[in-house]
Symmetry: none
Subunit: 197 residues, 4 copies
Amino acid sequence: MSSFRAQKMAKKKQEILRSAAAVLVEKGYQGTTMEEIAAKLLMTKGSMYYYFKNKDDLLYQCHLMIMEICLDGIEKVIESELNPVEKLRNAIKEHILLATSEKSMFMALSKPNHNFSEKQLQEVLELRKNYSHYFDKIIQEGIEKRAFVPVDVKMVRLIVLGALNWIQEWYDQNGPQSAEEISEAYAAYLLKMLVKE
Amino acid sequence: MSSFRAQKMAKKKQEILRSAAAVLVEKGYQGTTMEEIAAKLLMTKGSMYYYFKNKDDLLYQCHLMIMEICLDGIEKVIESELNPVEKLRNAIKEHILLATSEKSMFMALSKPNHNFSEKQLQEVLELRKNYSHYFDKIIQEGIEKRAFVPVDVKMVRLIVLGALNWIQEWYDQNGPQSAEEISEAYAAYLLKMLVKE
Amino acid sequence: MSSFRAQKMAKKKQEILRSAAAVLVEKGYQGTTMEEIAAKLLMTKGSMYYYFKNKDDLLYQCHLMIMEICLDGIEKVIESELNPVEKLRNAIKEHILLATSEKSMFMALSKPNHNFSEKQLQEVLELRKNYSHYFDKIIQEGIEKRAFVPVDVKMVRLIVLGALNWIQEWYDQNGPQSAEEISEAYAAYLLKMLVKE
Amino acid sequence: MSSFRAQKMAKKKQEILRSAAAVLVEKGYQGTTMEEIAAKLLMTKGSMYYYFKNKDDLLYQCHLMIMEICLDGIEKVIESELNPVEKLRNAIKEHILLATSEKSMFMALSKPNHNFSEKQLQEVLELRKNYSHYFDKIIQEGIEKRAFVPVDVKMVRLIVLGALNWIQEWYDQNGPQSAEEISEAYAAYLLKMLVKE
DNA sequence: TATGAATGAGCTTTCATTCAT
DNA sequence: CATGAATGAAAGCTCATTCAT
C-alpha cells in the first residue's frame, strides 16, 4: 500500500530530523549547511530535498519534532498523581535530561524567525506557549494547594526555563557531573524559590 | 597630534562595536552581514574594513567590549560595602539592566568558536571566567558570613546566570514590565535559593 | 561504477585545466578571474568550485599538469638512442613545440609563490628540478662523449631554457614563422654554444 | 620659481618610480597594491595620487624610466669604438648588471597590456623596439665586418634577450655567483653562437 | 529514490580612487 | 602637500536549490 511507503518515508524523515536537530542546535541555523547534515547521515545534499522542501522546512520540522518530545514529557508529568512539588521537580528533571541527552532542546533553537511563514511561526510559538503553560499550570496548582508560596507565575517560569536552557551552553557529556546529578541539584535549588521553609 | 587622530578612530570603533553588538546578538554571527552592520551606521560595507581587519575581528572586539562593560559593573558591586545579599541583588540587577539596555549581553554571544584564533578564544573565555568568578565570590562570601545557606556555588551561579541570560530571548522594550521591575523581581526570586527564611 | 563517475570527473578537470592554463599564462595569476576561466568553458564561476577547492588549487593543478606533459616529452628524448647533439636538438624542439602549441609552457607560470602551501610549492619545484636535470643530463653526457665542449652545465642550461621560455612573449600563431621553423633555428643556434666547429 | 617646484616634484617622482619598479617586477602589476608601494616609501596611499594620475600611469612611467636607463646603457656601448664582439659582450653584461642590480629589468615587466591607452602602449613598445634594434645593429655590424658568422639577426637577438631576461627568475643576490661572474659567462657562451672558431 | 553536477544569489574581502581638511 | 577616511566595483568563495539521469 501507499501507507507502507508513507511509513517508510516518515521513518526516514524522523532519522534525518534527529540528526539534523543535533547539528542545528550545535552550530545554529546559519552555521549549519545542508551538506553537513547530509554527510552525517551518509547521504548527499540533493537527497535531502526528497524529504524536505527546503532548509527552512527542515528547521520547522525540527522544531515540531522537538516540541512534540518535550510536550510528551511534560504531559506525562502533568497527568501524574504527584503533588505540585514533585511535579515541578520531575518537569525540571525531564527537561534537563532531554536537553542533555538529545542535545537538541527546543528553546535553544531560539527565535524561530528565520524565514518561516507566518503560519509556521505561529505554529511553533503556539507549541512553545503550550509547553510554557504546562509549567505555569504546575506552579499555579502548587500555589492554590498552598504547596508553593504565592509568586508571579510567569516570571518564575521564565527564571526556571532560562536556567534550564542555559545548561546546554556548558554541559559536557564527559564532564564530572552526570545529567542525572545536575537535574537533581537544579530541581532542588529552583524549588527553593517556591516552597516555604 | 597623532594621538588625537587615534582617539577619533577609537571613538568610531566604539560606535561601530556598539551598533554591531546589537545586531550580532539579535541575529547571530552567521545571520549578520557586514552590509547590515554598516548600513545601520550609514556607512558602506567597505568602510568597515578600515576599522576592523575582518568580520571575526569585529566579533572578537565586540566580545572584549561587552565583557569590559560587564566587568566594570560587577567590580563596582564587589568593591561596595554592602552585605552579600545586597551585593548579589545588585549584581543581578546590574546584569539585567545591561542586558536589556544594551541588548548586547555578553553571554548571549554564546560559544565564541567562530573562527577565533586560539589566543582570541582564550582571551574571551578568560574574561568570562573572571565575570563568573565574581559571582562565585559573592556567593562564597555570603555562605561564609552565614548570610547564605551552604550551596554548590558553581551550580547556583550557573542557574543564576542562565536565568539572567535568557531574558534577552523574550524581553521587549515596549512590554508591560520595565527592566527595572524585572530585575527587582528576578533578584528577589533568585535570592530565595540562598537565604534562609 | 563509481570509477566511471570518477573518470568522468577527471576528464572534466583536465578540460578545465587545459583551458585555465592558457588564460593563466596569458594574463597571470592575479590578472585572471575565476569567472573568466569559467566563461571560456561556458560554465559559471560557482561550478568551478565543484572541481577545484579554490583558485590556488586550480593553479597548482595547472602546474602539475603542465609539468607532466613536459616531463613526458623530455623523457622520450632521454630514452631515445640518439647522440647528445640530436638529443639536445630534440629536447629544444619539443619544448618549443609544446610552449607554442599549448601556449601554456610551464616555466612561464613563473614563481609559483602565490599562496601555495609549502608542500605544494616543494612539489612543483621538485618537478621543475627534474625537468632541468634532464637537460643537464643531456649536456653532461655530450661532454663526456666529447660531442660537446666542456662547459658550465648549469649555466648553459639556464641560457637555453631562458631563451626557450622567452618565446611565448613574442610568438604569434599567425606570424611569418612556424613553430617548427623557429624550433629548428633555435636548436641550431643554441647548439653552437656546445659543439666545436 | 615654479621650475624649482617642478624639479622637486620630478625628484620625488623618480624616487617613487625606482621603489615602485622593484615591487612591480617582483610581484607583478596585479599583485602589487598602491598601499604596498606607498608603505615602502613611508607615504600613504593617497599621497601617490599627487604624483601619478593612477596605477596605470605609475606603471607606464615605470616602463619609461626603466627603458631610459636601458637605452642609456646600450647607447654608450653602441657609441664606443669597440669591435662588434666586444660591443655585444658589453651590451650583454650591461643588461645583466642592470637586471640584477635594479631587479627591475624592463622586459620583465612583460606584456604591457594592462590598461594602457593605445598611445601609451605604442610608446612603450617603441622604446622596446629601439632597445632591440640596438642589439640588432651590433649583430648586423658584426656580420658585415666578418666578425660574426651570418645569422638570422632577429632570431639570435631573441635568443640572447630571452636568455638574459630569464636570469631574474633564478638570480639570488646571496647566491654563489656574483652578477659580474654570471654576466661574463653568459656573454662568453652566447657569443659562441656568433663567432667562428 | 538517490545523486552528480550545475547554478546563481549573496557574502566577505580587497583595493584603486576620491576628497575634505 | 599630505593624509585620514570613505567608497564602490569587482573578486573569491559558499551554499541552498534544482534537475536530468
